[in-house]
Symmetry: C2
Subunit: 460 residues, 2 copies
């Protein structure tokens, strides 16, 4: 098979390929708010069936998993993991409607689709289907069998994916897992990562009760003189968890952290040469890092430090002008990112123990489902196939030991016993933020790189 | 004049009197949100004109002041201070629509109007006009001349009242100021207070900037590992202002606090005998006080402690479910209540100095207009007239040295040089909270007591 014929076909059909991206982002699917989830699942099911595959919408206690496969009669099988949910847009200000799929020429990066989910991760998901369809048209059949597992709760911490994967271990057997994602930075450099951090999300609440404080409603602020304040108590309790240098003060939270492996150390040495801190600052709209700007040290903080973050905090009067109020309930949403060797159970135990040591019966904690980090070796055939696919475009990928972000890849690595790879060319940005975007030209490069990857993996 | 004829007239017209209360609360006038302010001011102006008075809506840099007077050709003049604005209802859950003026039979207190402002303070304001109208009908003319100054920014800290009062000092000359308010607790005991605390409201903000942190938008939460967090920084800065026992840690904030005067000490001795802590806990929906339950000690905390309160705190993701976010801006609304001898300038200086000592250029503070406390002596004729009016109904008022709440009465006491009194029979509750209410029967008692007060003051 000549890849040129496939690339020509991608170019010829590219406007209709963009239409699929737009159709995917125009269908809202906000798992946190329950908006458009059934419609998005059905759109995916139809898409797989039109490619000649089997597809089912499998119920879970939460949002369903869309799963199935296309049997091409090939010796090798790839499990294609994806997600169809996106983050809420509540409270965000966008330059265009976040679910309109509009094209905007952005400074620095050029013509892009600006929409919730276009980068994380409906753009790559739509592109993946574009590639499968293109190969079928140009080559008759796929070079590998594929299976799909596309969840609707990634943004909720993949809370029902473990149960699904565990229950379908045999049916999901494959040689490797692949997760489609745009991996070029804004300068075009492809970035590959061999793993992800884990995450433990939780909420901390202080409300009035037996200890004091207003129990069921905020009351006139003058009472703060003699009635306890849930707001002060939450602030005081949270403040014990972090110091002024933003070093975590929860005892034991770092206990399970291990030194980078020999393979990671080798990757870090190479990475420190090309790693560009300025690009990261630009991406995250910050003027400086918390730590000194030494590249090697920054990398170690970024990849091997667990994080304790306040995602949101709220309580009392937050409207315009003045209102004096003694609030009855104040809350914070928080998360810990888990680095290699940390487990969610250990994180929960350390947070609970920290709050218990405070001796504050007024502070309650609720843990969401958490998951551990996951890593794959550079030497796995699926990783090498992806690296060859990227190199074939004349670009040298920058390989990261893992990502600072989280994904439930432990399910593939640990539960299914499969190595995994994630990435592909393409560029996007501002996930979980207003004006999330992905570039049009990146979408074309993405499709070429993923097509090449399928053939590389088949021939490996 | 026989008071009986006036009381009979109140009873005969009481349904139409309630209609005026309903009309006042049905006209929203939320100064913090700019809702219905012009309409409410016009309603007041018309009401005064219909009573044969002069009335003007005087522009200020904020919401206008409604002012005027009724010259009854009497030797004595009362300045009637009032407010026509109410607190927002945003985010509150009410048993009835907060601006419908509905009557609900509440447990413990009986038939009541449940509406925003019916207690604080449109119910008493409407009742005051009912009394003036009733006296004119029953007695031909009022026993005292009255002047009105009714502001629309009390809930915003009366920020433009000082300028107005200062500019109209001569026109506002009177023998005393009176503020109409329901003063009975839920057991029927009348409570009078001879002063108010002051208040200094402010906002503390931490946002990303030169120090680090995301500058203009929240970014993916995984970046908390290496980019500074405005949320942690605000929490850490706030936590330095209070200890775990909720004792204020802002150096110097208590420096200007003085011991109770001899008159206050005498009032405190009497008060400690009738003061019922349980009623206060019930009113404010709390199970216990911050301090031990000794009545005399509690009273001293309540009246002579300055307060540092968090009215509201917010930032980042506060919607349902999970969203990982490193917020770019987190804010808190706060206030200090000023006890005798404290001045807003001193409070601002101590807060500024505290934040400066932290050396945190990432924390910004914005001060709203503040005002000092104000007190009147028990021996003032206007106070004695109100006490006699209440005693004439067979009830003994419980006299408080001052209130824990705040009002800009320093303007009457200090700027205009007038003694003041506030109160009247009647019962209401839950100011600044959902299901604010005032009892129907209390409204009748209020009108009788205020009519009696006018005659007592005239004859004193």
């Amino acid at each position: 098979m000549s890849m040129d014929r496939i690339f020509a076909r991608i170019d010829a059909d590219f406007q209709s390929h963009l239409d699929r991206v737009r159709a995917f982002v125009r269908q809202p699917s906000i798992s946190g708010e329950g908006v458009g989830m059934a419609e998005m699942a059905e759109l995916l099911r139809e898409t797989i069936v039109r490619l000649g595959g089997r597809a089912e919408i499998a119920a879970t206690p939460g949002w369903p998993v869309v799963w199935g496969g296309i049997d091409a009669g090939r010796p090798k099988t790839l499990l294609l993991y994806g997600m169809y949910d996106v983050q809420p847009v509540e409270g965000e200000e966008w330059m265009v409607s976040p679910f309109a799929g509009e094209t905007v020429t952005l400074p620095d990066v050029g013509p892009s689709i600006v929409a919730r989910g276009v980068y994380n991760t409906k753009g790559p998901l739509a592109g993946l289907f574009n590639v499968l369809e293109t190969i079928q048209r140009a080559d008759g059949r796929l070079p590998v069998n594929v299976k799909f597992v596309i969840e609707g709760e990634e943004e909720l911490g993949s809370r029902n994916l473990p149960g699904f994967i565990h229950a379908h271990r045999d049916a999901l057997a494959a040689d490797a897992t692949y997760f489609a994602f745009y991996c070029q930075d804004r300068h075009g450099k492809p970035v590959l990562w061999l793993g992800v951090k884990g995450i433990q999300y939780f909420e901390v609440t202080c409300r009035g009760g037996a200890w004091g404080g207003p129990r069921t409603r905020g009351v006139h602020g003058s009472n703060a003189v003699w009635i306890g304040s849930p707001a002060w108590r939450l602030v005081r309790a949270l403040a014990t968890m972090m110091d002024d240098e933003e070093e975590i003060q929860v005892a034991g939270l770092r206990d399970d952290v291990i030194s980078p492996s020999a393979e990671d150390e080798a990757l870090l040495r190479t990475l420190a040469e090309t790693f560009d801190p300025a690009t990261h600052l630009w991406s995250w709209d910050a003027e400086r890092f918390k730590h000194a700007d030494d590249r090697a040290a920054l990398l170690r903080h970024y990849l091997y430090d667990p994080t304790l973050n306040i995602d949101g905090i709220w309580g009392g009067y937050t409207g315009p002008g003045m209102k004096t109020l003694l609030p009855h309930e104040v809350r914070a949403k928080m998360d810990v990112r888990l680095v290699p060797n940390m487990e969610p159970e250990g994180v929960r135990a350390r947070i609970r123990a920290h709050l218990a040591r405070l001796g504050r019966e007024d502070i309650q904690v609720h843990f969401y489902e958490g998951y551990p980090p996951a890593k794959t070796s550079l030497n796995e055939p699926v990783v090498q196939a992806l690296i060859r696919a990227i190199r074939s475009t004349g670009r040298e990928p920058e390989v990261w030991p893992h990502l600072a972000g989280s994904a439930p890849f432990y399910l593939f690595r640990r539960t299914l016993g499969q190595p995994f790879a994630a990435g592909g060319l393409g560029h996007g940005g501002r996930p979980h933020s207003p004006n999330e975007y992905a570039t049009i030209e990146g979408m074309r490069l993405f499709e070429r790189s993923v097509a090449q990857f399928f053939y590389e993996f088949a021939g490996a």
